[in-house]
Symmetry: C2
Subunit: 184 residues, 2 copies
DNA sequence: GCAAAATAGAAGTCATCACTCCGCTTGTCA
DNA sequence: TGACAAGCGGAGTGATGACTTCTATTTTGC
């Protein structure tokens, strides 16, 4: 129960950071050794922090969710209710430029993305609920929408953007989704 | 150049069919042996028809694209121009009930989904182009849309639906996308 | 400064999996 | 109906990669 040493904390963070980059770039098939190397860390260390590859992947995923939840919360409190939801979606989807492969990453690791029992998932759901409610109250989002749809659309839009060739195409896809959210 | 034996043709079809089902259900990580078993075929046979796992996966994918292209073409000629595009999207996306994991399947196999050089891809693009043009002419789709966006939205919507818990949620997601396609 | 905690990373274990090889079976065509 | 090539099944092979273990070394906290 004693708090971990400073270098342990540092290494854990470095592993997560490197893992995200490598996994997103090369997919879940990359070896743990590769990830350890990218993090500048021995294999033993990696496995002490994350006893299985799956837990490492889940760690990366949950870190991402936490960042999303933080963004959503910030926008929900600071932003204009009428535009906050759209801004969030835009931000979230642009976040990892090269590849938003995080969900398919998880899926191919055999993790069920819809398993929303964890704490980061709960936090994101809650933040999205607030964002959505405010948008609906100010007429910026269709009334029948609920949080699960929002999450789905988030993942889906991110997927859709992978197919966009240029910036114009990207912005058109985004425009379609945003218009759809509004209509109703 | 002699035509293949009857049993060979039959087996090839059975492999493709079983592979689609197993791959969609369990992801690309399933072993080829599992696929062979599902097809009721020996491993040797599987590998004679598809010399590598990647070629098998690509085969499944292209078969799917061909079916999509056929559907699109049929709707483009037979259907009401104003509703054909929406109908197509609805159909395409509902096709594989459990999981429309085909694209992430390919992606995790290291195949670039956006590589549109193959014949089935070309056929689909062409059919979609017709569908889109007719929809735009009858005011059922925003004018600025182009085919790549449509393909992206197809994949994205399919992804989004994976998150929908129940039928109501599914239909709301679909409604968002369809409204977005129209708006403009 | 020292004990405890943590690390690097080499070497090894074990399971898995894509793919090969080859003896047997079956479709085809005379 | 018989011969024979095309096709088949499935045991076997080699590579890979997740995870363990261990020793010598470094880092941290008090």
């Amino acid at each position: 129960m004693t708090p971990p040493r400073a270098d342990a904390i540092r290494n854990r963070a470095r592993i997560l950071e490197a893992a995200e980059q490598v996994l997103v770039e090369h997919g879940t098939t990359v070896s743990t050794e590769e990830i350890a190397k990218a993090a500048g860390v021995g294999i033993g260390t990696l496995f002490r922090h994350f006893p299985t590859k799956e837990e490492l992947i889940r760690g990366v995923f949950e870190a991402r969710l936490q960042r999303l939840a933080a963004d959503a919360t910030r926008l929900a409190t600071d932003g204009d209710p009428a535009t906050a939801l759209a801004t969030f979606l835009r931000q979230a989807v642009e976040q990892s430029e090269v590849k938003n492969a995080l969900t398919s990453m998880l899926a191919s690791a055999g993790v069920d993305v819809r398993d929303l029992t964890g704490e980061p998932q709960r936090a994101l759901r809650e933040a999205l609920a607030t964002l959505l409610r405010k948008a609906q109250q100010s007429g910026a989002a269709r009334q029948d929408l609920e949080v699960p749809e929002l999450i789905g659309l988030l993942a889906g839009t991110s997927k859709a953007l992978e197919y966009a060739g240029d910036a114009a195409s990207r912005s058109r896809i985004l425009a379609v989704v945003l218009a759809g959210l509004r209509a109703g």
